[in-house]
């Protein structure tokens, strides 16, 4: 093999990768935060509602889960402004898409979590005279969050990987940085030899940290 490795081009442009990774993490963090808000709101709202509300929420969930994220990103970035007569930055567009995407996955997670709350806990809340709102705020939501904590950390890591799709609309995250360097310097092997460990180490570090949090706070389903 006559290929000579030369990492100089990668190190010279390392800022693009470093800041790209930071932006990836930022996007994932905003995505999970917005997703939790959407998911929590819809899951709590759907409780004990009629068929219409449940069907609408199911339609949202099923649509998002069965369409490629790439297509959703294009749809929001190119499709909607073309008829709306307005525009937004690529980053804003991606954050919105990722939040809607995360919301659809988390509604299901929270719904399952609410179902897993022991019946007696809610009855106990009723017995000591908590109003429905108080039961939701002090009994159901905190318990449910502790039950679904492992699913939440998996969702966060999964979203971190999904941020790579933002590169297709030129959001300068890690994969975009990798593409930029490889098209401008042709040092493809070297770029990916650096980017691959960046993704893996970040992902595994997040996993380890979140497992620690889970060990402290998660409730095991009996």
């Amino acid at each position: 093999m006559s290929y000579h490795l030369n990492f100089a081009a990668v190190w010279r442009n390392f800022g693009r990768l470093g800041w790209g990774l930071a932006l990836s993490l930022e996007l994932a963090a905003i995505g999970i935060a917005a997703g939790v808000i959407i998911g929590l709101a819809l899951a709590l709202f759907a409780q004990g509602r009629g068929r219409v509300v449940r069907t609408l929420i199911a339609a949202y969930v099923e649509f998002i889960r069965n369409v490629p994220l790439l297509l959703l990103v294009y749809l929001v970035f190119y499709g909607i402004p073309s008829v709306g007569g307005f525009a937004y930055s690529a980053t804003t567009s991606f954050v919105v898409t990722l939040s809607i995407y995360a919301g659809a996955y988390l509604v299901e997670v929270f719904r399952a979590g609410l179902d897993a709350i022991p019946r007696g806990l809610i009855d106990a809340g009723r017995a000591i005279g908590l109003t429905p709102w108080q039961r939701m705020a002090y009994v159901q939501t905190p318990t449910m969050l502790r039950i679904v904590l492992p699913s939440l950390s998996n969702a966060f890591i999964s979203l971190f990987k999904d941020t790579a799709i933002a590169s297709v609309i030129a959001v300068p995250e890690l994969t975009y940085g990798a593409n930029w360097i490889s098209t401008n310097t042709f040092r493809i092997i070297e770029v990916y030899a650096v980017v691959t460990p960046m993704y893996l180490v970040t992902g595994w570090t997040l996993l380890l940290l979140l497992r620690q949090v889970e060990r402290r706070y998660a409730l095991r389903r009996a």
Partner: protein
């Protein structure tokens, strides 16, 4: 509305490519994934460890990064492979790791007593797998496996980024000529939705069907 109808024959060609790529990837991932999953569960450490490393790396990277890497790095490494196969190989490597984990989960859900009983009546490893473990693990395997098929169809949209005219790129090309992004993206989404929703429902139905079994 007219643009959607007129685009259909062209999108049909793209859809065929999407389905073809998905079918090839699902077949490769099923074969290798079953093998790797069995290795993860039963093989000695020196076999299981490399498989574990492969699985963790393939699942730890974004699929899009994996596809770009395989697609661009193969020529740089002087490996002569078409762009089509590079993209299919990347997708297959990703899905194989997921199928391997699904297989491992299904196999580990079988009570060790089943293996011990098989061993006690003198079944070889292959016989135990074929007649005792796999038939019982099947119900734990099928629903999540169908979910990996859905992920494959969705993931195959990413091959459009390396110039393969699948459904996603066909949609993009029609938009390039008609300048009507919204109706065409919605149409593309609808086609993906129909395929994947059917599969998801099948998975859910099977899960409900097998739910009566309690260990």
């Amino acid at each position: 509305m007219m643009v959607m109808v007129k685009a259909l024959p062209f999108l049909w060609q793209g859809l065929l490519v999407t389905l073809q790529i998905s079918a090839i990837v699902v077949t490769i991932a099923l074969g290798l994934g079953l093998l790797f999953g069995t290795a993860l569960t039963y093989a000695p450490r020196w076999v299981a460890w490399p498989v574990r490393a492969y699985s963790d790396i393939a699942r730890g990277l974004p699929l899009i990064t994996l596809i770009f890497f395989v697609y661009y790095a193969m020529p740089a490494l002087k490996v002569n492979v078409s762009g089509w196969w590079a993209a299919v190989a990347a997708l297959a490597a990703f899905e194989t790791a997921h199928v391997a984990e699904v297989t491992r989960g299904a196999l580990q859900s079988i009570h060790p007593g089943q293996t011990e009983a098989g061993r006690a009546i003198g079944l070889t490893f292959v016989q135990r797998m074929l007649y005792v473990i796999f038939p019982q693990a099947l119900r734990r395997f099928l629903p999540p496996w169908i979910n990996t098929v859905v992920d494959t169809v969705k993931g195959s949209a990413l091959v459009s980024l390396v110039g393969i005219v699948d459904l996603m790129l066909a949609v993009q090309q029609v938009i390039g000529r008609t300048f009507q992004p919204l109706p065409l993206y919605v149409l593309g989404a609808a086609i993906y939705f129909i395929i994947n929703y059917t599969l998801s429902q099948l998975s859910r139905r099977l899960e409900a069907r097998f739910a009566y079994v309690r260990e």
